[in-house]
């Protein structure tokens, strides 16, 4: 109200200067906030180290390691699941939750086991995902576990407006949890219900954290982003089997390198009756179902 107008002007200039400065720094730091894959190597290292430290601090666990191991050349992963063996015990589901640090509350499951009627065959319309008998398998039923099919022609990556999700050279479709804006367009596009959203802050007790993390895989996710099966990228890139393969008590799950003619998946594909879910959609999954017997 009062005071020398020049004073006021210089004050305003100062305020404006500060505001411009703040906006500029904000913009600069946003430029740095690129997807990890776009960053130069040394910067990516730094970001990784920061994320690792943050996760350690958040869970109070010193044993946390965060890897960004890249795809090995000459490897494209494939999966095969034996429908004639699966007994619907859901052990894969829970092994996956444990391995991949899915939220316990609210519950997120990357694998969904569908119970089907033998008379109808594979029929999603009449499938039941919430079957709960005392003992499995039940007479007259069979079971179809569904998880991300790692499509080669993936509708989910195509629709993402910010390229927060893509297919890696070894065929794994991944999500950058720091880049996803949570629009859920990919969930509408995925024909297999394989993508899951963090509707609330994921609840993961520190004691249950699997500390062996991959930046594009099982590291704890923030609220408001999408996540999905990554073929246990943190294991398989180190030459181990996915957790679900190891957990299956009847050996219904096979995993390997599709480019290796001697791998088990290749054997299955070449020698068994193989089928693909929703083949007519031309998603070209790297996940095959087969009848082993």
């Amino acid at each position: 109200m009062s005071g020398d107008p020049t004073d006021r002007r210089s004050f305003l200039r100062q305020v404006a200067g500060t505001a411009v400065g703040a906006v500029a720094t904000g913009l600069l730091s946003s430029c740095v906030g690129e997807r990890l894959r776009d960053l130069p190597w040394d910067e990516a290292r730094r970001r990784l180290a920061r994320l690792e430290a943050e996760t350690r601090a958040r869970f109070g666990r010193e044993d946390v390691t965060l890897s960004a191991q890249e795809a090995q050349p000459g490897v494209v992963f494939g999966y095969a699941l034996d429908l004639s063996r699966c007994i619907g015990c859901r052990r894969c589901v829970y092994a996956c939750v444990k391995e991949n640090n899915q939220s316990r509350t609210p519950q997120i499951h990357w694998i969904k086991v569908l119970q089907m009627d033998k008379r109808r065959g594979i029929d999603l319309v009449h499938a039941d995902a919430y079957y709960n008998p005392a003992f499995v398998p039940e007479d007259g039923r069979f079971y179809v576990p569904v998880q991300c099919q790692q499509c080669d022609n993936a509708p989910c990556t195509k629709v993402c407006p910010v390229r927060a999700t893509w297919q890696e050279p070894d065929g794994i479709v991944v999500v950058d949890y720091d880049w996803c804006i949570g629009c859920r367009y990919c969930m509408a596009a995925c024909p297999y219900g394989a993508r899951h959203f963090n509707w609330a802050e994921p609840g993961l007790p520190a004691g249950e954290l699997n500390p062996n993390l991959h930046v594009l895989g099982n590291r704890p996710r923030p609220m408001g982003v999408v996540e999905k099966c990554t073929f246990c990228i943190q294991r398989t890139r180190q030459g181990r089997y996915p957790a679900c393969v190891e957990a299956c008590p009847v050996g219904a799950r096979k995993f390997g390198n599709l480019l290796d003619p001697d791998s088990e998946v290749r054997y299955v594909i070449e020698h068994k009756r193989v089928l693909i879910l929703k083949e007519e959609l031309n998603t070209m999954p790297k996940f095959f179902y087969f009848y082993g017997t």
Binding site: C31, K158, V159, R163, C183, R184, M187, Y192, A200
Partner: protein, 430 residues
Amino acid sequence: MRFHLFARFFVGSARVVTRGNALYWGWVAFLLALVASGALAYADQLQAGLSVTAMRDPVSWGFYIGNFTFLVGVAAAAVVLVIPAYIYKWGPIREIAIFGELLAVSAIVMCLLFVFVDIGRPDRFWHLLPPFGILNFPSSLLAWDVLVLNLYFVVNFVVVTHLVYCGFARRDYNHKLVWTLVLLSVPMAVSIHTVTAFLYNGLAARPYWNASILAPQFLASAFCSGPAILLFVLQLLRRFTSFRIRNEAIWKIAELMAYAMFLNLFLHGAEIFKEYYSDTHHLLHTRYLYEGVGGHHALQPYAWAAVVLNVTAFILFIIPRTRRNFVTLNLGCAAIYLGVYIEKGMGLILPGLTPDTLGEIYSYSPTLTEIRVAAGIFAVGFLVFTLMLKVAVPIALGRFHVDADPAREPVRPPSEPEAEAVPPATAAGT
């Protein structure tokens, strides 16, 4: 000099929007209350995440995206007025085309807000904005939509503010600019709705949306719902201001709406025939909408209400007598608004997502938080529209310009004493 004119425009406009009778203030206060309630609800959502909505993995889009889709239609419908007004120079509509564009601007504001409240990480909104972010163009239809919606907004905003400002400055508007932009806005209006339809249409995972009839049907229904709102607005304007809008203009718009509604019903019927006659698994979504599936009947009453409303409106508008009677005309408008709101909102999103891709049925209905946020966004839109009208109407009437400020008593010409204070009914009568 220029700057001074500009400053006076702003000061004058500010004065215009802060002067009004009790009805005006009551309306503004009502809208502000809704905005506040919506903002509080949104604050909850920011805190607790989208878990405060009823959306879950099986139905991952809901009320917000439904409203977004409906409003894109409202925004696109501005062309219904712009085409005949500018291209065919059809007199009576020409003077009101500007209100269509104001409506488009407000509707786009609401559209962008609905997308914004729907995303899980609003703090990362800038990821969509190159050069700081990455827009997955041309692969993602959502990227296309962001682009065309913003362009459409800018075009309409420029045209409207330019016309209004020139009216204020009492000089002729830049014909070249306005004509180019108006001609541009016609195909753009078609494109925003087409792109929005393609957003759903392109998803092979959702057979209910994966039908090429979607885009034409979107356009047809938009050409009903947008003008329906406008017809209300025009009548209100006529009543509460001395703005003269001829009956023929209103009847002409109503007639155009009848044709659009016929097309809409026809396209809808074609799709329904295909679904029921071929009787594949894809029929499930249509059946979920109209009959209910497996004991889930949540959508059924709404779906049938939409059918009845749309057919009623069509009959009322196609018969000249009922079209010309303002009671039946307004009934028809309300029916269209509601019918299309159901059909293009929840009636499109929910059956598209239910049953989900693995056959699960999740019965979605919006939570109070979602309804409050949505009401808040509608209130923002109506507020923008009201304020813009408040400035544009006196300018269009030649009452508010550089040398005359309707809000300042002494400047008012003596021939129109206290025009603002005259009760609405009398004002309309003069």
